[in-house]
Amino acid sequence: MKKISKKIIILVIILLMFMGINYVIMDTNHNVVLANESVEFENFDYEIEKIRQDGDLKINIILSWDTKEEIFINHIFITVPNQEEEVTNIKPESNLKNNNMYHYNLNFTVQNWQIGTMKIDIAYSNNLANTSEEHYIFYIAEGKYLEEEISWGNAIFLAIITTFCIAIGTFIIIENNKKSYLDNIN
């Protein structure tokens, strides 16, 4: 029991060490939204999650907002460093809320994006007959620590910690099994 407690303490120290390292590298420029002034879009919100499609990493973006009048989305352009992408098959889910506002939900998938600023340009018109297009542009800036690719030094350090944790886990499980086996014999 004493041996197991020692190993658990070591694991907790490792966790605290990770947290300490993270505190030192803390970046304040994380998840900043610079939305332009718009009278059309209210309660604008976004959610980003990393997904895997056919083995490739992609980003799933969920946008939601309210408008006083009904609008029609014409195009959505996504610009990430060095690449531009047009979102096709746009089918926003809209429903009239109690306070006479139209609520929109938009869910789409774009290429994997780790660093730099992502620009989202939503081109829309007020009604189908009106051909003039309005644009709603906003930016999402991510901190450089969101980059998945890490240096060899950090990779080796993390691999050693992971192996160490697995070894401790193995010993905890084996010790526990040995103890219960001896209890059964006695």
Partner: protein, 148 residues
């Protein structure tokens, strides 16, 4: 309490200890890795997946421990191998940390160090087992000499 009931309770307690150990291990590893690499934290969904994986793995481990005809060295190797497999698979499919395309350095380093760790574990267990055997043999020899 009947002996059968007591044994079942003991088995459940043992199973729960294994489950909690695996769950804590996976959570500590990935909480650390995610904070270091992505600067994000584990979500409730991730923890739920960890729990399900730990529950399934605990059943596998319980089966391994029920096999009496395998040595403690082989048991340790199987546990280490399965734990490593769980960590790599969860990191690959759930958290996308280990990725050959986007983060090959971490993936390669982890695989290499897991293999190195396995070699060290085998050597450590063999040396420990030899030491125990030697001490047992010496004790036996002393007893035999004393009897004669």
């Amino acid at each position: 309490m009947s002996n059968k009931k007591f044994n079942i309770l003991k088995f459940i307690a043992n199973y729960l200890i294994i489950l909690i150990s695996i769950f804590a291990l996976i959570t500590i590893i990935f909480a650390g890795l995610l904070e270091f690499i992505n600067r994000s934290v584990l979500s409730g969904k991730d923890l739920l997946i960890f729990f399900i994986v730990s529950a399934v793995a605990s059943i596998l481990f319980s089966i391994v421990f029920k096999l009496n005809n395998i040595s403690i060295v082989l048991q340790a190797i199987i546990i280490y191998f399965l734990l490593s497999l769980i960590v790599v698979l969860v990191g690959y499919y759930v958290l996308y940390i280990y990725d050959i395309g986007h983060n090959y350095k971490l993936f390669i380093s982890t695989i290499i160090f897991i293999i190195v760790g396995l070699v060290f574990l085998i050597l450590f267990l063999i040396i420990k087992l030899r030491k125990v055997n030697k001490s047992l043999n010496e004790n036996l020899k002393n007893f035999k000499e004393r009897d004669h």
